[in-house]
């Protein structure tokens, strides 16, 4: 898999400076971060970082080993090596002229997303899904005029073996 997308699930000590160690490792060694999500887990002492990166096999191997070498990194899982589920959440503020409203609502319905704020001139839509789904949705909405988008980046978990 040349330069494929890799999703890493990294468990770290929940301490100040840890994120900067990880970000510094990527910038210092010329690796690329496509997206990054960090939050506490059920154990308040540790956080989960979901990081999406790209690179050939050797680079990904180095990234994983280098991450592991950081003292505050507890585990590194390459989810792309197993089966996993991923989600991303996006908030999309879109121009909602009266003539477009019905079409937008239909799309919202088709994509099983939600309108969470309505104004005279706009809707704000909440959508979750994998990267593909979000991309498709955004493409469809584009012609109506997107005002702003906020995206969380990917979060992911490995599937449990049945």
């Amino acid at each position: 898999m040349e330069n494929g997308k890799t999703v890493l699930s990294i468990i770290v000590d929940n301490q100040p400076g840890v994120l900067s160690r990880i970000a510094g490792l990527f910038s210092g060694r010329g690796y690329n971060i496509e997206s990054l999500c960090v939050a506490e887990t059920d154990d308040p002492l540790v956080s989960r970082i979901t990081l999406v990166t790209k690179g050939n096999k050797l680079i990904i191997e180095q990234i994983k080993k280098q991450l592991h070498k950081l003292i505050n990194v507890i585990t590194v899982h390459d989810l792309t090596e197993t089966k996993y589920v991923e989600r991303e959440l996006a908030l999309i503020k879109i121009n909602a002229k009266p003539k477009d409203r019905a079409e937008i609502l239909r799309m919202v319905d088709v994509f099983r997303s939600k309108v969470i704020d309505v104004g005279h001139e706009h809707f704000t839509i909440e959508i979750t899904g994998d990267e593909e789904k979000l991309k498709a949705f955004i493409n469809i909405l584009k012609p109506m005029g997107i005002k702003e988008i906020a995206r969380t980046g990917t979060i992911a978990l490995a599937r449990e073996l049945q």
């Binding site: 050797l58 950081l70 003292i71």
Partner: protein, 561 residues
């Protein structure tokens, strides 16, 4: 009983067996210095904080233990960065304690505040800002453990001033338990079995050993392997001394300024046992041509070293000593009676390379720098601890002094940091008062931390400085000569101090000569004096270090004269 943070720090350092600290005081650490004065820990007062770190580095290498330095916040802390980076590149275990402004002021651009934890994140193995006095004792214990275990390295502890003055009860954990840090010491036996069968079949094996052997104290085991299986040995700059430099199986150092026979052996070998090395670009030359006919085995405790620069056939993650012990045992069981493939032709080929293309120079009326090193080797009977500055002096020290034991050659290998040698010599001398310690220097490098001569004099550390004075930043000049048509842009040191008078001004002793026939007697006189001594040898100005593999070329593409 409650102790202040400063007292807790001292108690924690004592628990780690610290006997000596290299440092420089200031406002943020004044409480720590006060507590220090109440202990029997010795303090070496350097003249610049960079010197403190290099000295702790030299101490750590000469003693095989963690070196410690202590500096104040702000400029004291930033002055340590070069030293830390050098120790990091060479995997040297040191603990750096920096003062910090009080916690209430952190982030306010307070007087003498810098974010040293942020600055040193990429050049420490790990670092800490202690925000709670109850964490202090534990942090010190962790820092020493991290610095000295696995692949060693520098660890920095930043301690705010209010932490040093507030009080609590001393409480340190019995054992360090870091769930996120667990170096692999013992090798995978299946991998080792593969190594044994490769050794069994190899007709032209070579061992390439590095600093990892010295760090893990595995020289004995390395020698055992080489002698038993009759395998020639080369080392990186960091590995010098891991294998005796006088043994018939010794190939000399490899790489950019490696010996002809070492570089040829790498190109021709069918099995390369790389142990405790990281395949630096100064060693490999063009990587696709490196050991291209060989199966490569790579033993290293740091998994990130493996497959980083060179693709290897059999990776073994493990401590060099543990791995070699196990490997030797397996080899002796499985290949009895020295029943190895006949390596005579291979050894003969190597001997032939040595004969036709040895390290050589021509001593006439002007002193050759190589001659000085060769005579230093003879006069000291090869027993001195040698530190170096950086440049040609460093390479000649590697080529012409022969190291029979580990921890006797101390150099800034990875960072290549000029100004390293003198403070490192001071640290080494502190660690080994019984030893003769000599800094081999260039006239450029020695000026970078010459102020440390005062440290040596104050603390009665009789280090010797041998300056190979060529009036140039020689190594850069060499590149300009070879690759920039002799355009010596800014490498001529048009002015240098009178090093003899300079030595005297510092309360040391100075000698100078430009006559080849005086070299030996000056070395003898200088070494006999129980004080710091500078010996300034005016040498051939445009002598070059050969062989030389131009950057980016294959190891076999050596310039020989």
């Amino acid at each position: 009983m409650k102790l202040t943070g400063a007292q807790i720090l001292m108690k924690a350092l004592k628990e780690e067996g610290v006997e000596t600290i290299f440092g420089y005081p200031g406002g943020a650490v004044i409480e720590i210095y006060d507590a220090l004065s109440q202990t029997d820990i010795e303090h070496v007062l350097v003249r610049h904080e960079q010197g403190a770190v290099h000295a702790a580095d030299g101490y750590a290498r000469a003693k095989g233990q963690v070196g410690v330095c202590l500096v104040t916040s702000g400029p004291g802390a930033t002055n340590t960065v070069t030293g830390i980076a050098s120790a990091y590149m060479d995997s040297i275990p040191i603990v750096i304690i920096t003062g910090q402004v009080p916690t209430s002021l952190i982030g306010n651009d307070a007087f003498q505040e810098v974010d040293i934890v942020g600055i040193t994140r990429p050049c420490t193995k790990h670092n800490y800002l202690v925000k709670n006095i109850d964490d202090l004792a534990k942090t010190v214990k962790e820092a020493f453990y991290i610095a000295s275990s696995g692949r060693p390295g520098p660890v920095l502890i930043d301690i705010p001033k209010d932490i040093t003055t507030s009080k609590t009860i001393y409480k340190a954990p019995e054992k360090i338990n870091l769930k996120s840090y667990n170096p692999t010491y013992n090798p995978n036996l299946k991998q080792l079995a593969k190594v044994v069968s490769l050794i069994k079949e190899a007709k032209k094996p070579v061992i390439f050993a590095g600093g990892g052997i010295i760090l893990s104290k595995a020289s004995e085991e390395l020698r055992e392997l080489a002698y038993y299986a009759n395998i020639p040995v080369t080392t990186s700059l960091m590995g010098l001394g891991a294998f005796p430099g006088t043994h018939p199986l010794w190939l000399g150092m490899l790489g950019m300024h490696g010996t002809f026979r070492a570089n040829m052996s790498i190109a021709e070998c069918d099995l390369l046992l790389a142990i405790g090395v990281r395949f630096d670009d100064r060693v490999t030359g063009r990587t696709d041509a490196f050991a291209s006919k060989a199966k490569i085995v790579h033993v290293d405790i740091d998994p990130t070293s493996i497959h980083k620069n060179i693709n290897v056939h059999v990776p073994v993650v493990g401590d060099c000593k543990a791995t070699l012990c196990q490997l030797n045992k397996m080899i002796k069981q499985q290949i009895p009676d020295k029943n190895f493939p006949d390596s005579k032709t291979w050894i003969d080929t190597i001997q032939e390379w040595k004969k036709t293309t040895p390290l050589a120079y021509d001593q006439k009326d002007i002193i050759k720098p190589q001659y000085v090193i060769e005579k230093l080797y003879e006069v000291t009977k090869g027993q001195a601890i040698i530190t170096t500055e950086v440049g040609q002096n460093q390479m000649w020290a590697a080529q012409y002094y022969h190291y029979d034991s580990p921890n006797h050659f101390i150099t800034s290998g990875g960072l290549g940091c000029m100004g390293f040698g003198l403070p490192a010599a001071i640290g080494a001398q502190k660690a080994r008062p019984d030893k003769l310690v000599v800094d081999i220097a260039g006239d450029g490098s020695i000026q970078m931390n010459i102020q440390e001569l005062a440290t040596a004099v104050q603390h009665c550390l009789p280090v010797k400085i041998v300056i190979l004075n060529n009036g140039y930043l020689g190594m850069v000049r060499q590149w300009q000569q070879l690759f920039y048509e002799r355009r010596y842009s800014c490498t001529r040191m048009e002015f240098a101090p009178d090093f003899v008078k300079l030595a005297e001004a510092f309360g040391a002793v100075g000698f100078r000569t430009s006559k080849p026939e005086e070299v030996v007697s000056i070395l003898q006189q200088g070494i006999a004096i129980n004080k710091p001594v500078i010996m300034d040898f005016i040498v051939e100005k445009e002598e070059n270090v050969y062989p030389m593999v131009p950057a980016g070329k294959a190891l076999t593409e050596m310039l020989l004269v």
